[in-house]
Symmetry: C2
Amino acid sequence: MAGRRYRDPSGRTLADYPRPSLAVDTAVLTVPSDAAALHVLLVAHRDRHRRDRWALPGTFLHEGETLADAVRRSLAQKAGVVGLTPTQLHVFDAVDRDDRGRVLSVAHVSVVGWSRVAPAVSARDDVAAVPVAAAVGLPYDHDQIVALAVAHTRARYAEHPDPDRLLAGPFTLLELRRLHEAVLGAPLPKDTFRRRMQPQLRPTGRLRQGAVGKPAELFRHRRGAPAVPRP
Amino acid sequence: MAGRRYRDPSGRTLADYPRPSLAVDTAVLTVPSDAAALHVLLVAHRDRHRRDRWALPGTFLHEGETLADAVRRSLAQKAGVVGLTPTQLHVFDAVDRDDRGRVLSVAHVSVVGWSRVAPAVSARDDVAAVPVAAAVGLPYDHDQIVALAVAHTRARYAEHPDPDRLLAGPFTLLELRRLHEAVLGAPLPKDTFRRRMQPQLRPTGRLRQGAVGKPAELFRHRRGAPAVPRP
DNA sequence: GAAATAGTGTCTTTGAGACAATATCCT
DNA sequence: AGGATATTGTCTCAAAGACACTATTTC
């Protein structure tokens, strides 16, 4: 690398500076199809006392890798989940946060459809999805990461319809509202919800057939990238 | 450190993992007393081609130091500014963002009163405060950091009166509005501004004397810590 | 027809913005 | 008195929440 010979004003090269380890930890949020609550993905984690605990999936940053790369690698490897679009939340930098040494961790969040998570959860003993309200007592500062991820996600869902494109095909406003209620963890008024979301959707002429009651109109997402939060 | 002998499931110790350099860069925002615009603090920066450029103050993270520590150290040393309460914004992690090697930078923002900045700006050639609109063409990704810091700060000022306690003693609503207009970079309607901010202030019985016009009531900040954004 | 769901109308409240009237000081 | 600034009143508009009514399907 060209930088090897560079010396700064005090005569030091880049390698002379101390280097803490840098990790990523990710809260993967999802809504199981048989539950109406936001869940977070946990993986079995053997700590330095050789005890198994549930924790957020994480890894150390490898050479030449971006943080998003590391997130995707750790999730593919530790939980068999692919297709993530991680969003950075916060760097946890307490000096004593990891008793193996100085480790800073960049917390991430990623919201994915249940179909991406279900195979790993049902096939592997070391992967589980638990309601976010039940994900407490996790090691390191993972409780804080989960809380941060949930708050961040709920704020995004208050603004836009299904910002993570969890509903694949066309959907009714009831289906959209059920999803938002699961993310929020609380019921939403159906009339106000419709009036806020409908202008942001693209109507298909079609109706949802086969269910009891008046058939509901099917909508699609608007063109363009879904709302993203940070650069 | 106790962690030295710890080996993970693949037999590696913490030292076996690659370690990128970790830096902090800080946008120090302030409003000069003789200007009605938000300014950012820049320091002279000699790059690897031995050219002097203006850049945000930054440094590498030292051993046993938190990110906030590193921010305060870099500002005290490179700009003679103390008393900061830095807030984390984002980690910039592009692999090629620094041509000296792999360096990740945690961007921070800190809003301080002009009195903390003025001595260094007037005494040192290598420290300057420029309007945020003029702080473009900076090296690395410092343009993005400034934009992020400004957006973050403006959003905070839209909610609460003087969240960084830049006004020391009691102040009138006109003085508060002038500050918010400087941060926002646009005029604010005086009646709406009053109605939003007054409930969040503590009235003193006293009036501002000596100026022309009807004397304005003096207010103080509410008790308690000012609104903070992230953990 | 009864039940269930979709979609809409309307009333109230709240807050922002615009505009202006009134109040109280300085010179 | 006259100018300047502070403070408050009022009107309009928009959006949210609550409530209820109508519409259209399945059973």
